[in-house]
Structures are given as C-alpha cells and as structure tokens.
Symmetry: C2
Subunit: 195 residues, 2 copies
Amino acid sequence: MARKQGSHSDITGPKVQAAALRLISQHGFAAVSMRQIAAEVGVQAGALYNYTPDKQSLLFELMRNHMQDLLADWDQQDKSGTTLARLERFTRFHIRFNLPRADEVFISYMELRNLSPDNFAKIEQMRREYETGLEDILRDGEREGTFAVPDVRIATMALIAMLNGLNSWYRDNGRLGLDEIETIYWDLVRKSVAV
Amino acid sequence: MARKQGSHSDITGPKVQAAALRLISQHGFAAVSMRQIAAEVGVQAGALYNYTPDKQSLLFELMRNHMQDLLADWDQQDKSGTTLARLERFTRFHIRFNLPRADEVFISYMELRNLSPDNFAKIEQMRREYETGLEDILRDGEREGTFAVPDVRIATMALIAMLNGLNSWYRDNGRLGLDEIETIYWDLVRKSVAV
DNA sequence: TACTTAACTGAACATGCGTTCATAATAAAA
DNA sequence: TTTTATTATGAACGCATGTTCAGTTAAGTA
C-alpha cells in the first residue's frame, strides 16, 4: 500500500526533517532511532530511506539547512551605517534569528561530534563565515577608535557565546518580553567593547 | 581470574570514572557502551557493575563530582574586598577552574538531557547555587552604584555563557597564554557591567 | 597451610539497532 | 483502461545494547 490519498514525497519529505529535528533536539542524535523518527512521521522505518541515504545524512541536512538559512538571512541585512550601528544590527539579528529556532540551534551546537569528518568541515566553514561578520565589525571599530577590543578573535567568540546562551534559558511567556531582552543584551554587548 | 597482582577496587573504581569521563565527553553518553568503557579499563563489561548500579548512575556521579568540586573550590575563595575585586575574582576563578576540566564541563552541559528527572533536579540545583555566587556580586554592585546592570539575572546568565564559551575553543599551546586570555575576558566582563 | 571473600570472567537474556529488498498499492500518464 | 512510476510495507540481516549471574581466581586472614 502506498500513496494513500494525496500523499506524496513533497509531504513526507518535510515531515521526516521535522520529526528528525524535534526528536534529535530532544534526545540527541545517538539516542534517536530511525524507527522513532518513522513512527513520528507515520510510516515504517524503511520508508525513510526514500528521503535520506542514511542517518548521518539526515543530521547533516538539518545542520546545513540551518546554517544556509542563517547565512542567507544575514547576507540580506543592511550593512551600512556606523560601526556601532552595525554591531547593534548584528546583535539584534542574531537574537531574532536564533530564538525562534531553538531546536536547530541546539542541534547545531550539540551534535557537531556526530558529523562525519567531511560533514563537520563543511558546517564548521559555514559557522566560521558567519563569525567573520561580527569579527569584521569589531576590527573596523577597533581601527577607527569606536571600540576598544584587546583581541578581536576572542571578543568575537565571547560575544557569540554570550548571545547563544540566551537560547538555553529563554522561554516564551517568561518574565521579560523579547524586545526588553534584546535591549538588555545589546547593552551588555555595547559596553563590553566600549572604549 | 581476579585480583591479578595488587589490583583492587581502589584502583579499578577511579579507572572506571576516568574512562567514562573521557569516552562520554568524546562520543556522548548515548553513543558510549558499557563494553567500550570496560575495554578502556581493561575488564569485562560485567565488572563495571561492581562500581556503579547502572549506566545512568555512572553519568550522574561524573556530573555530581564535578559540581561538588566546583562548589567546594568556590566556597574557599576569598569573599572579601570591593565589589569590583569580587567580580574579578569570580571571573578568574571560573576560567581557572573550568579550563583544565574540559571533559567534565563538556559533559555537564551536553548530557543534562540524559539524566533522569531526579538526577537532573539535583545537578540543576547545584548549578543554580553556583550562579548565585555571581548574581550576588552583581546585585551588590548594582545597589552601591559600582555596576550598571539593567537585569541581574540576565547579566548572570550572559556572563557565565560568555566565560563558558572559552572552553569550546581554548587549546593548550594556542596563540595566547592563559594569563593573557584571562585578562582579556576580565576586560570584557568588567566593561559589560560598568556604569 | 587452609579458608574466606573481594574482584572479575564469560555466557546468556531479551531487545533494539541501521539498513536492505522483494513485494504491494496507488496516483498519474498514455 | 492499461501502463508506468512513485511510495510505502514488513520481514529479514547481522550485530550491538544494558544488565544479570553462576562460576573462577587470587589476595588477605587465621
């Protein structure tokens, strides 16, 4: 039996990705079985192999899609204005992009070690590309005297780690609204690199 | 065959913990089998159950020991001096304690979801206790006007996330020495909460 | 020397794993 | 209506899993 009612790979494919995303984020890649994912989709395990060559590729696709979305979105942000304005824009963009993607972000940091060496290198390169966006801003600001950053690379890693931390404790309907949180983080970022 | 030469549980016990620490940190809790751990220790899988009631407890013990060490070490740090001095002491303590414990720190953040609900609650409470150390410093500084912290809880989470990030990229024999890195991070921390 | 006991082996248990494949069923094309 | 391509099933493959336990070895005690 197959293709009951309008069903199609256009429907099942995304369902597989969504189920893998949710389950891997919750239990971890190694702890989630293909049968669990299949059950969440509503098919047998064998059917998953119409949509992915193997479990490893399923993980890689999740992470690659996330990084591609991130880079594409960042790419079409306004890059003009003062260095300070650019830093604020990066900060707010990072928060607004990552917060609604809790599962993707979580997986992208937790499951790096479960990628094959080849796949790891690809993801790592994309991450590095994104970090360069912030690094350039800090370097420009340091050069023109807007910022005082003893070490640009360290500051980049430190700020991104700080911003990423938000994802681990933020909850909708929490004590503070997104706008307030965003402003508080921007305040911390701004001052940490101030002259 | 048992107790070949001076062998004893006083020797094998710590070996089990060390093997579990290394392997779980490298591959993840779910991906490491009791047989792998046993092989690293040099015994059969069954022998591990002389030292832990089950796999879950093995993970929990690793995390609890780490958190206990952290709290004990922090407890005997000097708590006197100005608020600024206390913040600097926390920052440098955190870096110096965590950096040489890469495996423990990694596990303590990555494997929280693999703890049973009971065990999770216990670890979470210890983490919260540690965070309170920083939170108190920030609150005191805010009250006396040394710091300008719009939201003490958020600043606490943000600063700890920033400091923890160091563990993910630091390598011995890297570009910068530990002292330099420590000072750079202290600079970021100090300014981020400055008035 | 004989005895006790801590420490470990090695096999077994039921269960689950990722993946493959012959087969079936259906939707779309002819 | 017949044909074709797509999408799924369900059983099977060999192998690994956490855990238990009766039996074995050797160190420590008397």
